[in-house]
Symmetry: C2
Subunit: 404 residues, 2 copies
């Protein structure tokens, strides 16, 4: 038996950051930045009025000003404002050269373009200075961050039009088994609809990968060997008795460039994990039981994608952590849970929030993992191997299941 952590470390070691591609701004959302994305320009680009008033020179003091022009959004006053001159300005207008404050109207002098100001009118709070939000050259999105919707607005306001993004890692999925049928197809007795691939594809997309479902393969070496054509960074097989038969498959491939090990991993639910490579591409073999396979995906595919995407987990906000499952999160138990044996145990649970606290309400532990229970779970409660019984109110580690 090897621990989950050891198995995860061995799997992850097979991956390295994937290549990058130049993308246009409009395709950034949800992608992982492959470089620090910096502002091209200051924001705001120039001092901007936040009120309607008159742009004046603070040094002029109180007195009469000659109104020499207007500055409105998109229509700046182009000349330099001289002594005792003022420019009418509206919200969003750029402060003209020479001015440094906004004044408000006193009585206009009838029949003239002059206006009386009763005080020097320094109102710096009514001017948004150039670069107040950010300066040209500042990092708007650091390398390794997933670009959020709000980041999109920040990047656009900084004049960013292109940046290097990590390519989406391709994950080929093959469902192996003579008992499998496409959903809705006519079946022999005991025939099962292949379902894991549908769930896995959606998860991989949520985690930033590009799933490619090979569909159903018969459980024999020749069929399984066809996966060698997959143009992918990771191949995942679901079920199948022949998958682990290295010799048979290598013979079917007419090649020895295939290896596979069986690891008895100390966790439940779950069966032995297969791990190997096919023509240099890492290959994971998951159990045929959909609920077990989908837990394996969370434990082994998600961190592999993070390595390939170069995800910097420090850039991941708490709300995002509820989706990506990349961090250890915690909750209080609403009920007791039994002591564990030598296996790390993942217990499906419902989460509720009360008074700023997250509570995990475990579902009954089942001998056989069922899809319907997994689907209604909000999180897995993680119990360490050889751990004592947990009491109601105990703080436990959880893996939230949103993007999952």
């Amino acid at each position: 038996m090897i621990s989950v952590e050891e198995a995860q470390a061995r799997v992850i070691a097979a991956f390295k950051p994937i290549d990058t591609e130049h993308e246009d701004l409009s395709h950034f959302a949800g992608r992982v930045a492959a470089e620090d994305i910096k502002a091209v320009v200051d924001n705001p680009p120039a001092p901007i009025a936040t009120v309607n008033g008159y742009a004046v020179r603070q040094g002029d003091g109180e007195g009469v000003r000659k109104i020499v022009g207007r500055s409105t959004p998109g229509h700046p006053y182009r000349a330099t404002v001289g002594t005792n001159e003022a420019v009418r300005i509206v919200i969003g207008g750029v402060l003209p050269e020479g001015t440094d404050a906004i004044a408000f109207r006193e009585d206009p002098i009838e029949g003239s373009d002059e206006m009386q100001f009763s005080y020097s009118a320094a109102h710096p709070e009514h001017i948004r200075e150039a670069g107040l939000d950010f300066k040209a050259g500042s990092v708007l999105v650091p390398a390794g961050k997933r670009v959020t919707a709000r980041d999109m607005a920040v990047l656009a306001s900084g004049g960013v039009t292109q940046a290097k993004m990590r390519r989406r890692p391709r994950v080929a999925i093959a469902s192996v088994g003579d008992e499998l049928y496409a959903p809705g197809a006519e079946r022999r007795p005991g025939g099962i609809y292949a379902s894991t691939g549908y769930g896995l594809s959606a998860m991989i997309a949520n985690w930033g990968g590009a799933p490619c479902d090979f569909g159903i393969l018969e459980d024999n070496a020749q069929e399984i060997a066809t996966i060698a054509d997959a143009d992918a960074e990771l191949v995942v097989t679901l079920g199948g008795h022949s998958v682990g038969d290295t010799e048979l498959i290598a013979r079917a491939l007419g090649s020895t460039d295939f290896s596979m090990e069986t690891w008895p991993v100390a966790y439940r639910p779950g069966r032995p994990l297969l791990f190997g490579q096919l023509g240099g591409t890492p290959m994971l073999g998951f159990p045929g039981n959909p609920a077990s396979a989908l837990v394996c995906a969370l434990l082994f595919i998600r961190p592999s994608l993070d390595v390939m995407l170069g995800t910097n987990q420090n850039t991941c906000s708490l709300p995002q952590r509820f989706k990506c499952g990349c961090h250890n999160m915690t909750a209080r138990l609403t009920a007791e849970l039994p002591a564990t044996d030598g296996r790390k145990t993942y217990v499906r649970a419902r989460l509720v929030m009360q008074g700023g606290e997250v509570w995990a309400e475990p579902y009954p532990i089942l001998e056989y993992p069922m899809l319907s229970v997994l689907a209604k779970a909000d999180a897995l409660v993680v119990l360490p191997p050889n751990g004592p019984a947990a009491k109601s109110g105990d703080v436990v580690e959880i893996i939230p299941l949103d993007g999952y």
Copy 2:
């Protein structure tokens, strides 16, 4: 001044659930179900062995059995098993007709197809009964639920191939202002890169809508009137002084089928909200400041989309609530916050989790909302109007900002 709740209620009242469309299973993920999606078949479809052994008739008791065949996944034993007969079965094989238990091998009788069993071998825990996970006709995904990755696997295993989904509501976005330029374009002094549309498009997609960015319009009635061509369920304008000039725009349209009201809403940050209709399509007018406009989107577009999508918020898991912002969530404050005036106040904050508790660390309250601060926030702390100062450790309402 009208309250945020009153403004939200008036906006929401303009929308109704959108029409539905038949979708194929492979396009369900992330969509909102428009009907209860029911299992077509039992899962498992028949009693299935969960161990390798022999399918026997429990009533036969101990003794010698004749091995009459095999049942392996995809290759069932087709006949009925008679008295004192047994069928070799492997994991995933369907239990043959006539059998009701799994027995384990005692000594095989040399040179014959018979086998000795020492006990009656009732092992119901080694059989997964038909329909144990779910029965045909059970609701797998209720109407109004957003289909998750795990739901995809459940639906496939239940033989679902098609269902009615809500169409994605189209939201047309127009950025209005003579000061606006496309990111990266050459600008006049004080020219601003239009950025809100990029953030808003990503948010609308995250919330289940279909954004359509009309780009930049000049701030005059003729330009704004071109939005009348938008084929959308909602039109959103960003900035623009002419947008609120009902008479001018109606004249530019050559029609009176345009109305717009200005609502002074009691909240900060935020400026008056415009709400009206254009040829029967609801229309929202947000402030030009991107950070203000994006908060308006959270308060007014998200709930409008929920009405159109018929979202049943009870089906929304706690992890999803960190994304969709549809529920009131809570956190403890790490620092004090001042009393509020008559306006509902949204304070940007960072969230951290410790010992099952969510803590909100407020950023300094700024007079002018800045994009860079909004982008790094994890949540908005919601302070009610005319509320007392909040102390460190107080439980406050938050709106998490993930899909945002």
